[in-house]
């Protein structure tokens, strides 16, 4: 369960995120949708405690990211934008290293890494050094690494960027499984179709503010269109013209 209220971040004169309120619940996939530069990454970074908010607060399973960041981090698995690996470590070692940092015992992290490697179909490259991995192999490794401590909440920043069709399918299947297991999943994307294909709930964000949080069906109804894409364009566009959302 991820909640935020009044979340604000400024970079100098620019207010990148302006009083964002959102809620992502367990057992659902929530999509953070918005054009480039909308403030998706900045919002996620505040949620996963890499950036400190200038205003507002957020909670992971009720734990404040501002006041107890370490405790909050234990409850999150994070796939940041363009997640990089350690090139001299194998995929398996990359995954297990994060297990170590999460404080897992050797036996547990071994077992979990093996399980994730199988689940993400990584067997062919799991024991190769990460240097020279394809984008798909890298994302899979980074994802497995983020899940090694079996976090209740999973945050992903544009996870399908640069992935081929097969890798996207594996990712979608995995997110579906995680949802079925009751995890709370929050991911960002600027691609409408992707959000439509995966999400139970959509948060549309533009110019640092949340325009709407609703289910895809509600969105269509609200924009008065059958196409989600059309709904997205209209809703973002409305805001751009200064009209009500």
């Amino acid at each position: 369960m991820i909640e935020a209220r009044g979340l604000t971040k400024r970079f100098g004169a620019l207010t990148a995120v302006d009083s964002v309120a959102l809620r992502a619940v367990d057992g659902r996939i929530t999509g953070l949708l918005g054009p480039n530069g909308a403030g998706k990454s900045t919002t996620l970074r505040m949620l996963y405690t890499v950036l400190a908010p200038d205003g507002g607060e957020a909670w992971i399973d009720g734990i404040s990211v501002v006041h107890a960041p370490l405790e909050a981090r234990r409850r999150m698995g994070v796939l940041p934008h363009g997640a990089g690996l350690y090139p001299n470590l194998t995929a398996r070692e990359n995954i297990e290293y994060f297990g170590t940092l999460q404080g897992l015992s050797r036996a547990v992290r071994r077992a979990r890494a093996a399980e994730l490697i199988e689940r993400l179909e990584m067997a062919t490259f799991a024991d190769r050094p990460a240097k020279g991995f394809s984008q798909g192999q890298r994302v899979k490794t980074a994802l497995a690494r983020a899940l090694i401590h079996q976090p209740r909440n999973v945050l992903l920043d544009e996870p399908t960027n640069g992935l081929d069709v097969m890798a996207v399918r594996t990712l979608r299947r995995l997110l579906g499984e995680l949802r079925a297991e009751g995890h709370c999943i929050l991911f960002s994307s600027h691609v409408m179709q992707e959000v439509a294909a995966l999400c139970d709930e959509v948060i549309i964000i533009a110019a640092g503010t949340v325009i709407v949080q609703a289910t895809p069906d509600e969105l269509r109804a609200r924009a008065g269109t059958q196409s989600l894409e059309e709904a997205f364009v209209r809703l973002v566009g409305l805001e751009g013209e200064g009209g009500p959302a």
Binding site: A52, P80, G84, Y86, T100, L101
Partner: protein
């Protein structure tokens, strides 16, 4: 605290697998440097041998006309090569870039016997520096031979040979073996400290600029570990690499110095295991400061390349005091022992020269260096907490 150890283990393990950093740590430093300095020193030794002790070849035309002179020269290390040449051939021979040639005229023996000046012709191309040295040596030897004959003649006439020496100039060489060796030793301590610092460079840069550039910093920061603990672990790994490099470098130097015969330079270098261990112990306290300084500088840079440039420059800072010390001829004293890197230099020198420093000086060196290391590490931790670390 456990997290520091976990980060340390991973960083250390990963570095041991990185060929580039391993080469710097284990090959360039500990092997190349001692080899390089060994070559330089052994060249210095070869060229520092007193000229008269080295054999010298000399072409002589008509050596048979001056057998006693030839015997005298041979006694002083001149290898006579008899050549058949008249005056003109002698000149041409030397012009075609041969070494000097001594021509003994036909009347040499007769003039010598009759007490008249007996001429010798020495053909040489004096624009050649090597030939100059040989000509000077030959002149000295022949002068010596002539002087001996002159004294014998005086004695034969009942005169005191001292009459021939109204003034005696005694040049007194005040350079001690130690002072002659100072430069070479300074180079050695420079090499030890530089290699030691070098070997921590890779991890120090990797901790910030490297992690950031390859995008592994952000996921790392989502781990439930305090940020400063991450950087402490990384700095410790850098320290470990530096310790390994230091031990290897000193061992390699100990080996090299034993085999190039420094005693021939007049250096009383006792580079045995005890001295080597002393050098390692004396340098250890500088390691945390070096690792932290490089990490600090790297965290201000925007890319790996930029970091390499700046940290490379920073590597020179600890070596500056050494250069000052050797230019200004600084001697160890308590105040200077409070300058990290300079104090390590003094410790290395004192051990090599077997002139032990007061225990207080060594304590000052260790304390100040370690304190500086602690402050810099703390600062690096603070910097790692900065938000814009991500760039």
């Amino acid at each position: 605290m456990k997290a520091i150890w976990r980060v340390f283990r991973k960083e250390f393990g990963e570095t041991l697998r990185e060929r580039r950093s391993l080469i710097t740590t284990l090959v360039v430093g500990p092997l190349l440097m001692p080899a390089l300095i060994g070559v330089v020193l052994s060249l210095a030794i070869r060229h520092s041998g007193t000229p008269s002790s080295r054999p010298m070849a000399l072409a002589v035309a008509h050596a048979e006309r001056a057998p006693q002179l030839m015997a005298f020269l041979a006694q002083y290390g001149v290898r006579i090569e008899a050549v058949h040449a008249d005056r003109r051939q002698s000149r041409r021979r030397v012009e075609r870039s041969h070494g000097p040639l001594l021509y003994v005229p036909r009347d040499f023996g007769a003039r010598l016997a009759s007490g008249k000046p007996a001429a010798l012709r020495l053909y040489a191309d004096e624009s050649n520096r090597a030939v100059q040295g040989r000509v000077r040596r030959l002149s000295t030897l022949i002068g010596l031979y002539g002087g001996t004959i002159a004294r014998l003649r005086l004695v034969a006439r009942g005169l005191d040979p001292q009459l021939l020496t109204p003034i005696a100039l005694h040049p007194i060489d005040v350079s001690t073996p130690q002072s002659r060796a100072a430069l070479a030793l300074g180079m050695l301590s420079y090499a030890i400290l530089f290699t030691m610092l070098m070997s921590g460079l890779y991890i120090a840069i990797d901790a910030t600029a490297g992690e950031r550039e390859r995008g592994s910093l952000e996921p790392l920061l989502t781990m439930p570990v305090r940020r400063e603990h991450l950087v402490y672990g990384k700095m410790l790994a850098a320290c470990a690499m530096m310790v390994i490099s230091l031990v290897l470098t000193v061992a390699a130097f100990a080996f090299a110095m034993r085999h190039i015969g420094l005693d021939r330079l007049g250096m009383s270098v006792n580079f045995g295991p005890a001295v080597a261990a002393g050098i390692v112990l004396g340098c250890l306290p500088l390691i945390p400061a070096g690792a932290a300084l490089m990490t600090l500088v790297a965290s201000f840079t925007r890319s790996y390349r930029e970091a390499q440039t700046y940290v490379g420059l920073v590597l020179l800072i600890p070596t500056l005091p050494l250069i000052f010390a050797s230019i200004m001829g600084l001697q160890p004293r308590a105040a200077l022992m409070a300058v990290p890197s300079l104090s390590q230099h003094f410790i290395i020198m004192s051990l090599l020269r077997a002139q032990p420093l007061p225990a207080l000086d060594i304590a000052i060196s260790a304390t100040v260096s370690l304190a500086l290391g602690a402050v810099l590490m703390f600062l690096a931790g603070r910097l790692y907490r900065r938000e814009n670390l991500l760039g």
